[in-house]
């Protein structure tokens, strides 16, 4: 193989490598936005008996978001965020108020605990489900009377 042919082949190999790197990068970014769309917003707090808050899909504000509660990294429960939260309409987060959730706190040991509420998102024609953390982890303590603080 002469040097001109070698040079041509080398250039093609370089171009192919760049094209494949761009393809993989584009697929990774696309997949990330499909599986983890940045449209979910929410907030939660610990009340004496429950973990309560709201969840909205900003891209489809009329959609009810499914949420899952984990306490200390253990799954606790899943449900739709369908309770009334007039404050989110006032804040301009959604057109209607039916985006609230409330999970009763299960029996826990005394001490500090961390709750995380995730929005559930389906993609890949329902074949794939991903979780996105809503707001910040909720720190709370359980005292002897089983009340959260």
């Amino acid at each position: 193989m002469n040097s001109q042919a070698r040079s041509k082949l080398t250039h093609f190999l370089m171009a192919k490598s760049i094209a494949e790197a761009l393809l993989v990068g584009a697929l990774a970014v696309t997949f990330f936005f499909v599986a983890f769309p940045p449209y979910f917003e929410g907030w939660g707090e610990a009340t004496p008996n429950a973990i309560a808050g709201w969840a909205v899909n900003r891209r489809q504000p009329s959609q009810r978001v499914e949420v899952q509660l984990f306490i200390d990294d253990q799954f606790v429960a899943a449900r739709g965020a369908t309770l009334p939260r007039p404050d989110i309409v006032t804040a301009g987060m959604a057109a209607d108020e039916w985006h609230g959730y409330s999970f009763e706190i299960p029996a826990l040991n005394e001490g500090h605990h961390t709750a995380r509420v995730y929005a559930v998102h389906s993609s890949g024609q329902g074949a794939r489900k991903t979780l996105q953390l809503l707001g910040n982890p909720i720190q709370f303590s359980v005292t002897g009377d089983q009340k959260a603080h």
């Binding site: 193989m1 697929l27 890949g124």
Partner: protein, 226 residues
């Protein structure tokens, strides 16, 4: 050998190595990323395969390799079959023994029960020809440039073929053995049609003797997981 000639030899070798890596990467990207994550868009999934094909065609042209050089020929078909028969019978015997050992029912109509066996064998031959072209007609030839003719290049071809069938452990092991046999035969008698027929028949034997659950329906790459 002068320094200029020595440099030329080294460059040729490095280029062959780069070509092997590039083709293996394209196939790995197709198996592990594009076909798994491109979703319904088969056109996007085919991009690395098309790039690999373009590289192989360009490389053949620049190296003045014709179809006959690659092994698309019939004059040495019988010689290649002669070399293949004994190892194929050995593999058949081992597969039947393993099936008996594991109490797995042998069913030669199991491959794709919904379609005619003759059609399945024809498709299997075409798929085998495509795989053997890439494996022997390209990778084996470049491996011989990279590390010379003999066991080292044969083992390299088999290792690449096996790695491209990961994470399916049974297929990875079977393709390593098959890769050794086919690469060794190709280096002695380069005939892709004989290798494609052998590839098809060995796949048929494997599917007929091993339970589908063990073979994981021949799934490889990211699809192996679901």
């Amino acid at each position: 050998m002068s320094s200029v000639e020595q440099q030329t030899v080294i460059n040729e070798r490095a280029l062959a190595g780069w070509e092997i890596v590039s083709i293996a990467c394209s196939l790995a990207i197709a198996e592990w990323i594009t076909f798994a994550f491109a979703g319904a868009s088969k056109a996007i999934g085919a991009i690395p395969v098309i790039l690999a094909l373009a590289l192989m065609v360009l490389s053949h042209r620049l190296r003045n390799e014709g179809l006959r050089d690659l092994g698309f020929r019939l004059d040495n078909f019988v010689n290649a079959v002669r070399l293949l028969i004994l190892p194929m019978l050995l593999v058949l015997g081992i597969c039947l023994l393993l099936a008996r050992w594991f109490h797995s029912p042998v069913d030669f109509f199991r491959w794709h029960p919904g379609s005619f066996l003759a059609v399945q064998l024809a498709l299997g031959f075409a798929w085998g020809l495509a795989q053997q072209y890439v494996l022997q007609g390209f990778i084996n030839r470049r491996a011989q440039v990279y590390c010379g003719r003999g066991w080292l290049s044969i083992a390299l071809v088999a290792a690449i073929f096996s790695a491209l069938h990961l994470p399916n452990p049974v297929l990875a092991a079977a393709t390593f053995v098959g890769g050794l046999i086919w690469a060794a035969v190709y280096q002695r008698v380069p005939n892709l049609f004989a290798l494609a027929a052998s590839h098809c028949l060995m796949t048929w034997v494997l599917v007929a003797t091993y339970p589908p659950a063990v073979l994981q329906h021949l799934r490889i790459g990211f699809r192996y997981f679901g």
